[in-house]
Amino acid sequence: MWDYTDKVLDHFKNPRNVGVVENADGVGEVGSLACGDALKLTFKLDDDGRIADAKFQTFGCASAIASSSALTEIIKGMTLEEAANVTNQDIADYLGGLPEQKMHCSVMGREALEVAIENYRTGETSKKILEGKVICTCFGITEEEVQRVVRDNELTTVEQVTNYCKAGGGCGGCTPDIERIIEEARLEREKSAPAPPAPKMTILQKIRLIEETIDREIRPMLQRDGGDLELIDVDGDRVIISFRGMCAQCNVAEFTMKDVVEAKLKEFVSPQIVVEEDKS
């Protein structure tokens, strides 16, 4: 038997919100008998645009029924904007988790919600938004759908993709496509990830880097206006300087210090640098 949580079993045995909402504002139908699971989601909005009622009908296994039941409970009371942000992971989390091979049940829930919202907005009844280039012909899964589950769940293997949306679970002909999508998503994640933290420097290395930055980036600028600066001390991230020449009397020295000196040191040495002027 599957290792289902008590919550999955509860929602399977006592499904909430079974049926079809009358005069529904949004209807979403996904899956098919051939695929082994299918879900019809209907919802109605109240005067404030919140989901007042949501019901489901599901053909599928215990976790498909539980995921559908959980979905209706999650979205009740939400605005459509809030509902549009519900992910398959939210559905799985609501149930205390799903076995990895059953994650596609939570994805089916999210898909039905997406289709139902689109149906409300555009009147489309078909799975138009899920149309596109079908890469898994066995289960009719599009490139966009695979991209979506890979991105939302940070998937890294074809097997995981199969568990989440079935793609690749039939003849296996689309395996190269799925591998490509996983690789594209990985590159995308790398690009958007914050730059790795700067390597830790010794205080000597830091002082040297500060001096180099002053010489290369800051001093030539000040010298053009007949000014200069001197490095007095470095205390952790605190850098104490003293202005010389014209800068010492300049009434915009305060701006020079923040906009030029501190900005350059933050850029080239460390974002934590704070520059102070030694006026003694």
Binding site: K13, V18, E29, F59, F139
Partner: protein
């Protein structure tokens, strides 16, 4: 809560007589039959007695019985052993509805350079014997065709198949794991070369099986090591389990008539009861001769795993060909090979009875199934 076990094609309870027969070999008689002292000597005799009992069930000579660890090992030993003895490139003919214990080694052998032919079945699960005739006509080949199907219970005409294969000079192996103990088997009159059996499908424990190997069959040794089983299968004999299997075969031989009469009547009662109380049902393999204990029914528009969980809550154990029960995404390869539409394949439930099943249990299932089907159909967008 009632406890109804209708999943006997998956495994069976160990018969109390079998447990009793085995116990002394776990407590007092624990010697190694190969040893040259009385510890060993007193157990070796019991291994041979067990061999004779197994041989009697299928009317073989005891020297043709090789003890193994399970049905899967027996199938692997037969296929790989016969293939290696015949040499690369040899044709191996099998069917699409075999157990994975046959299909997987065949697909492995295909990678090694053997010519594998998988025969299809019709909608009722039966073989097209003319396709078999064609497949074996090309020259010496190895054929592996199951006696009875584990999922549907459909029985293949092994007599006729044996005549065709032997007539073409082929070697015939049959996986009789489900047939043994439920159908009369006589290798003296049916020219089968090899036959697999599994202990735990006929009320012996898991961990013991046999391969019948007709005298003169060319078979490369599969398990290498010591001289046990006349050099055909190395490894110290699993004495308690072998003794248990011997006892189980003795019991099976005496209850085969009961299987064909009382158990078959119970199965028929269950099948007709469920068909009468639940709408939109299909019996898979209905048009073919079937094992007396098995019925495979598709409940349309609902899914097998969901049915099994509700049945289990009611205390009933069965199994399903649904994709979800296996963790794979496609429904049973047997059901699909029969061309059963997807609308029915996902909701197929197998009930398999045994000689321990009762009429009361059958009626209990007939009573509890309709509300489960109704509940799931109420949830289904298709019903």
């Amino acid at each position: 809560m009632k406890n109804v076990y209708f999943d006997n094609n998956a495994t069976t309870c160990v018969a109390p007589e079998v447990v009793e027969a085995m116990l002394p070999f776990l407590t007092d008689y624990w010697g190694n039959p190969s040893s040259m002292h009385h510890f060993g000597g007193q157990v070796g005799r019991h291994v041979e007695e067990a061999r004779a009992k197994v041989a009697a069930l299928i009317n073989a000579d005891p020297s043709e019985i090789v003890f193994t660890s399970c049905g899967t090992e027996s199938d692997n030993m037969a296929l790989v052993g016969a293939a290696e003895a015949a040499g690369k490139g040899t044709r191996i003919v099998t069917t699409r509805v075999e157990h994975p214990a046959v299909l997987s080694p065949c697909r492995h052998l295909k990678e090694l350079g053997y010519d594998i032919v998988e025969l299809g079945v019709d909608a009722s699960g039966q073989l097209d014997l003319s396709a078999l005739r064609k497949a074996v006509a090309a020259g010496p080949c190895i054929v592996s065709i199951m006696w009875a199907n584990n999922e549907t219970g459909v029985i293949f005409p092994i007599e006729e198949i044996a005549q065709i294969v032997k007539g073409a000079g082929g070697v015939l192996h049959t996986d009789a794991v489900q047939a043994a103990g439920k159908l009369p088997i006589d290798v003296a009159t049916t020219p089968i070369d090899m036959l697999s059996m599994s202990g735990h499908k006929l009320h012996a424990p898991k961990g013991v099986g046999i391969l019948y190997v007709r005298k003169g069959t060319k078979l490369k040794t599969f398990m290498l090591g010591g001289h046990q089983e006349s050099g055909r299968r190395a490894g110290t004999e699993n004495v308690p389990y072998i003794v248990g299997l011997g006892k189980a075969c003795e019991l099976a031989a005496s209850s085969i008539d009961e299987e064909r009469t009382r158990v078959a009547a119970l199965r028929d009662r269950l099948e007709s009861g469920l068909l009468a109380s639940c709408t939109d049902t299909i019996v898979n393999g209905a048009g073919a001769p079937r094992l007396p204990n098995t019925t495979n029914i598709s409940f349309q528009f609902i899914e097998g795993e969901a049915i099994l969980y509700h049945l289990s809550d009611a205390g009933v154990a069965a199994s399903s060909g649904s994709a979800c029960t296996s963790g794979s995404l496609e429904p049973s390869h047997v059901i699909r090979a029969m061309g059963v539409p997807f609308t029915s394949a996902h909701g197929s439930i197998r009930f398999s009875l045994s000689r321990y099943s009762t009429e009361e249990e059958v009626d209990y299932v007939i009573e509890h199934m309709p509300p489960i089907v109704a509940k799931l159909r109420e949830l289904s967008p298709f019903a």
